[in-house]
């Protein structure tokens, strides 16, 4: 008979206020093979762990059940402690009586009854637990960072500085991301390019970093320590090794009517182009869709004018296959589409622009060389209205329910900079709330109001109409409870941000989960904020949730540290909860092989002892434990019941079912 120890945690009052802990102890003590039962205020604390360890040693416990918070929280903690006391860590199970009991049920009698049922189910299961040994797998000492914005750049630099190889993959022709489009950054008003471009140069010059721009992830397989990734390096039609970045090709290109993505479509670019002056790498790319040579076969001017013979119209996409120990997602964001917000006239009026467009308009390297002017007539606006929360905190279903977090601050920045550069301009901001929870943020906002006389009106803009050469802004003033109408020459919409559309595709490829808004989900919201639930996949920047530059840089560093935690090891312990085959009853039908998503099962001719005790030579299924990830698909496909799964065996699950029903 087993000697099972049961430990019930109070979790302060989190469990004890709703579950009668003493009653749980009393119930489990009545079970014959429960040799020891005790409760403790905080089982996860040092004292709680010691209580368990002493009981294992002194009572000679052979199995342990902890009734506490979710196993996602502390299963690893308790298993480690059990191992230190000499018990195989896989002989311990958790009954989740906090998240799935005390926190969701209010009635104490009902919750106590359920806690007892969950404890009994865990006890029933643990009787069938077997001691398991984790295997080992090699670690490839190279990291992949997907996304070349400030998040990806910082993560790549931090990993490279620690002495490991990093590949940085960026979809666009240059690294730099959204930050390269910004003019100044709050709350210090540093020039964005001045703080970003040196980092871009560092990345390009670093011996440990390889940059793949104009490239995308094609395929991902493998697991932590051993990912195998196909990168599609799209054809630039320019030989990067020969190009000097002189820019003659883009000056002479006759096809100049393509909206310039870098300037948010405020002006046009040529078909062969360098994204922006400080681009890394400073190598142009031919946009084949708009190139006359590719579309009509005539032209070829760039090839003729290129002094270094770098143009290559025959270049083809290249697939690079590389192995990595860890992957960081840093795919960033875009602004939402405003077509559903007709009231702002964004699609109709050239003088209604998004904040990101405003950044380009005020940037010295932008389409107007930094002169703030209306896109309709080139005049300098005298009255500007900023509208906050355009599509953010929107429960109507047109926008996003979440707060985009950065808009309050960049709106204050844009309003302040406008007043500073053009003191005769009248600036009004409409807001729902002004949120400034950051170091120096509220002081910054107050400067905008107090020193720069920006008019802040609490209220929402309901309608904007074009009237002659100006705009009429109709809004509510919530504090005076009145409706107001303002004349404006320009309206700037603080548009909600959303994850890059590639996030969803990558989530599927990497089996990293995303939330309902397509932000990547962290493994634990508080304790593992830069890890995805998939081992070896980490999160950096806005792809995990809205954040500003300093937060992004901090998270990027954190993700790098997590990567280093993997790369610094030669071997990783593998999950021993893998499938195994009972060769005695395996018929060799290989139904399991067909369903295995990892190709971890294969038929092999072996000498086996059959159910009658006779030796025979036949084909049986063999599981490659290095490849098996432990999903259990094979166990259900097996018609003989020969396939089973460590940690979640048929007996273990059936025992739980029986205990509950």
């Amino acid at each position: 008979m087993q000697k099972i120890g049961v430990f019930v945690c109070w979790c302060g009052s989190n469990i004890a206020a709703t579950v009668d802990v003493a009653k749980v102890i009393e119930s489990v003590k009545a079970i014959p093979d429960v040799a020891f039962a005790a409760d403790y205020r905080y089982m996860c604390s040092e004292g709680g762990q010691e209580l368990m360890q002493n009981a294992i040693r002194e009572q000679g416990l052979t199995r342990v059940v902890i009734c506490a918070c979710s196993p996602r929280m502390h299963e690893a903690t308790f298993r480690k402690a059990a191992e230190a006391a000499g018990l195989n860590p896989f002989l311990l199970e958790i009954a989740n009586i906090r998240e799935q009991c005390s926190w969701v049920h209010k009635d104490k009698a009902v919750a106590t009854e359920k806690a007892i049922a969950l404890a009994k189910a865990a006890i029933a299961k643990v009787r069938f637990n077997s001691p398991l040994q984790a295997g080992e797998s090699e670690v490839v000492k190279r990291a992949l960072v997907i996304g070349g914005g400030i998040a990806g750049i910082q993560t790549a630099l931090d990993i490279a500085e620690a002495g490991y190889k990093v590949d940085l993959v960026e979809k666009k022709p240059s690294i730099g991301g959204r930050m390269s489009q910004l003019d100044k950054t709050f709350p210090t008003l540093d020039c964005s390019a001045c703080i970003l471009t040196p980092k871009m140069v560092d990345v390009a010059a670093h011996p440990n970093i390889t940059i793949y721009t104009y490239s995308e992830i094609e395929k991902v397989s493998g697991y932590v320590g051993q990912f195998e990734v196909d990168i599609r390096k799209r054809a630039r039609s320019v030989k990067a090794d020969l190009c000097t970045g002189c820019g003659v090709c883009q000056d002479k290109c006759p096809s100049r009517k393509t909206p310039n993505e870098f300037n948010q479509g405020l002006d046009n670019r040529s078909a062969i182009y360098i994204t922006f002056a400080q681009a890394v790498p400073k190598v142009p790319v031919i946009d084949r869709e708009h190139c006359l040579k590719f579309q009509t076969g005539k032209c070829g001017i760039c090839e003729k004018v290129c002094p270094s013979k770098a143009i290559d119209y025959t270049q083809e996409d290249e697939i690079i296959t590389q192995k990595y120990g860890a992957i960081v997602l840093a795919t960033g964001f875009e602004t939402i589409d405003l077509t559903k917000f007709g009231e702002y006239q964004y699609d109709k009026s050239k003088d209604v622009i998004t904040s990101l467009e405003f950044e380009r308009l005020t940037n010295a390297a932008g389409p107007t060389e930094g002169h703030l002017q209306r896109m309709s007539d080139g005049k300098q606006p005298k009255h500007i209205v900023f509208v906050s929360c355009v599509g953010s905190r929107d429960v109507s279903g047109r926008g996003k329910e979440y707060c985009s977090k950065i808009c309050c601050m960049y709106t204050a920045k844009q309003a302040m900079l406008t007043r500073e550069k053009y003191p005769d301009t009248d600036v009004t901001v409409f807001y729902i709330d002004v949120r400034t929870p950051g170091k120096g943020f509220d002081e910054f906002y107050r400067r905008a109001v107090e020193e720069y006389n920006v008019h802040y009106i609490k209220g929402q803009v309901g309608k904007i109409l074009e009237q002659g050469d100006h705009l009429k802004v109709y809004a509510s003033d919530a504090l005076s409870n009145t409706h107001i109408a303002l004349d404006a020459d320009m309206v700037v919409l603080a548009t909600a941000i959303q994850p890059s559309p590639d996030a969803k595709k990558l989530a599927t490829m990497l089996t990293a989960s995303i939330d309902t808004n397509n932000f990547f989900t962290e493994a634990h919201a508080k304790l593992r904020p830069v890890e995805s639930p998939t081992a070896g996949v980490f999160l950096s920047g806005v792809c995990q949730g809205p954040k500003d530059v300093p937060e992004t840089v901090a998270q990027a560093g954190a993700a790098a540290v997590k990567v280093l935690g993997i790369l610094s090891k030669d071997k990783l312990a593998t999950n021993p909860c893998v499938a195994y085959c009972n060769e005695k009853i395996c018929s060799g039908c290989l139904a399991c092989e067909n369903v295995c998503p990892y190709g971890a099962i294969a038929g092999e001719e072996r000498t086996v002892i059959n159910l009658n005790g006779k030796r025979e030579q036949r084909v049986v299924s063999v599981v490659n434990v290095a490849l098996c990830q432990g999903c259990g698909a094979c166990t259900v496909a097996c018609p003989c019941g020969a396939m089973d799964l460590n940690g979640f065996s048929n007996k273990q699950i059936t025992a739980e079912v029986d205990a509950i029903c």
Binding site: V104, A111, A121, T511, I514, C631, G632, A633, I653
Partner: protein, 150 residues
């Protein structure tokens, strides 16, 4: 169904087993807990690595032992941690459900739902709605005699 409900104890508190995959739905259930989104206590969760680990025999076992309802929750199609596990689940459970109705176990007693790790609200709403359905169906009398319980 009406007949069954009419002749049975109307105060019957149903017993419901919820199989939840480790990566999405079990985390979603934790999310419901963290957000204090309540659902009936007669729902007991069994953790499995993937929804595809759930053998239809486990579900039949639960019904035989007296469960009034069984719900199986996994990652949304396309989001499976094991890439394709929930696709197997979808096909297997479709077959199981048609067999259950052939055996005379009401269709509503078995449900498959996709709940992601971020959908604590959805987890709670799903459990509430399933519990209500099962309450409406009453005790699972079809297999009562097979249980040999007094």
């Amino acid at each position: 169904m009406l007949e069954a409900a009419a002749c049975e104890n109307t105060n019957h508190e149903p017993l419901i087993v919820a199989f939840c995959c480790n990566w999405c739905s079990y985390a979603g259930a934790d999310g419901a807990g963290t957000a204090r989104k309540t659902y009936p206590a007669n729902i007991k969760i069994i953790k499995v690595p993937c929804s595809c680990r759930v053998n239809p025999l486990f579900i039949l076992r639960a019904f035989l032992r007296g469960a009034d309802g069984v719900i199986l929750c996994g990652c949304h199609p396309g989001d499976c941690h094991y890439t394709s596990g929930n696709y197997y689940t979808r096909r297997r459970m479709k077959l199981l459900m048609s067999m259950l109705s052939f055996l005379g176990i009401e269709e509503g007693r078995m449900r498959v739902e996709w709940v992601s790790a971020a959908e604590g609200n959805k987890f709670s709403e799903t459990m509430n709605s399933f519990a209500e359905t099962i309450k409406g169906l009453g005790e699972n009398v079809k297999l009562r005699d097979l249980r040999c319980k007094k």
